[in-house]
Subunit: 301 residues, 2 copies
């Protein structure tokens, strides 16, 4: 099935106990596309300013990522983000964020992409996610990410979006905030009651829980990572592996969703092993599949 | 295989958002024995003062818990502990603790118990754990628990103990403290380097990781619990289910250890559903086995 992603392209500066990576390539759509490209072709929709130092056609060279939806705005500046991670890498601080082009009108979905069946709406204002989704003719399965600021300040927009999508992918703190509920099992149920058919709550080094409105459940630990250099992009890589697997298999039944979650988990474990996209670009599908089998063995009893 | 536990018997007062349980029965050896009794006979070693309001022979009526090792000291007072849990039940505050009889000499292991093969040394001063262990003639598999105060103030004693035991069962914060390492995978390896053949790191609502010195690994999520009333005793119930399963099966190979970890996880999920021992005493082996199968299905892909 055809897979489309809309999301940010960023110039990131990341500090971790393992080093500093200045002005490196980042952004949700970039991590997502790199991760998904191990599984299926990707249709990329995003926008940068004229200052963007990265040539995405080179970044994705040799990968089936269609950049027809990449818009360069001559009068605009590219999104910038800087963040720091402390000791255990589970908490991060945003040092600065310049929305720049992301504060403008969203990019248009190209005509050739409008028949996309699988859609991932990376984190942005829920009203923009809604608008982007409206440009797709007949999506079969739509997943979205969100974050705390939209939950706090744009809750009505977010709830309207939840009624239109099939899957919310969200981290545990955001799930608790959205559901106003400490217990994650109850939080998952409350989020499903808001209208989405599936919720995946990401727990960082503790894996994820996946609940469906039909009562299906899947709980998976993270791949055990002893060497975490930079967690940036882990969530978007998870989403990329997840959606890429669904696109490759052409199905969204719960058994396939479980395998897709496991692939997302494994792909994210490569992302966090190095700065920027280096962890992803230095692996391949064979190693991803090996790690999937390892994860299966580690959790089986 | 014969299973012996040494540990505390307590008069607990617990406050959670779900209510208050005053002067109820608690203590590591009590939770452990109740949990293990679903699987195998238990030999109980512990000490109380003359003020103890609980008749343990009635508490364990109908269960194969041998109280020959229960010592009542007429001049002493029973251990007391009071604690409070906040919102998400993952953090607790100790409101007060009166060691009382636990600050005196440890109980003696009865002659009839000295041939025990499986031994669980519940949390106490590592020097006392060492002394108790010395009373067992030829144990086959020894597991121990510990806590932050011993790691901080009695590290040499604890390290000496780790060279004598087969398995350390420890929670994640304590594992990080003991290993002086944030990353839990690295922490597990460092703890194994201290001499124990197996380490089980408990992560509360996120399950556990089990690493062996031989390189075997097992990662298991917690059973998804929507209704957590009182987490007190969860760790000791986990240890009881774990050791009880090993005793019943009479083996300690890694495949059996994995199943035992899963049983410990499931038994703990019953403990936290109610105050004091009520969650454990209101279940049975059939329901424990059903929940084990559910956990297996929830994690399989």
């Amino acid at each position: 099935m055809s897979l489309l992603v809309t999301g940010s392209i960023g110039i990131d500066t990341v500090k971790t106990p393992h080093g500093v990576s200045e002005d490196c390539l980042g952004g949700a759509a970039v991590y997502f596309s790199m991760a998904a490209s191990f599984f299926s072709p990707v249709r990329f929709v995003g926008v940068v300013g004229s200052d963007c130092p990265f040539d995405l056609s080179k970044v994705f060279a040799g990968r089936d990522v269609d950049l027809t939806g990449l818009e360069v705005r001559p009068q605009s500046k590219t999104f910038r983000w800087a963040g720091s991670y402390r000791g255990d890498m589970n908490d991060r601080t945003t040092d600065y964020m310049e929305l720049n082009v992301l504060a403008e009108a969203p990019p248009s979905v190209p005509e050739a992409f409008k028949d996309s069946k699988l859609v991932f709406l990376a984190n942005t204002a829920p009203a923009l996610q809604h608008e982007l989704l409206g440009q797709i003719e007949a999506p079969a399965f739509v997943a979205a990410d969100t974050m705390n600021c939209w939950i706090q300040d744009h809750l009505d927009d977010l709830k309207a979006l939840l009624e239109k999508i099939d899957c919310l992918i969200i981290n545990e703190d955001e799930a608790r905030m959205l559901a106003n509920e400490h217990n994650l099992i109850r939080a998952a149920r409350k989020i499903l009651d808001m209208g989405t058919g599936l919720v995946i709550i990401k727990k960082g080094e503790s894996g994820s829980i996946t609940f469906s409105a039909d009562g299906d459940k899947f709980i998976l630990p993270a791949y055990p990572a002893a060497d975490v250099k930079d967690p940036t992009g882990a969530g978007d890589s998870f989403a990329g592996g997840f959606m890429g697997c669904l696109a490759q298999r052409g199905r969204t039944d719960f058994e396939t969703l479980k395998t897709a979650v496991a692939y997302g988990t494994v792909v994210a474990s490569f992302t966090i092993a190095d700065f920027s996209l280096d962890g992803l670009t230095s692996t391949d599908r064979v190693r991803i599949d090996e790690r999937l089998q390892t994860l299966r063995n580690l959790t089986r009893f």
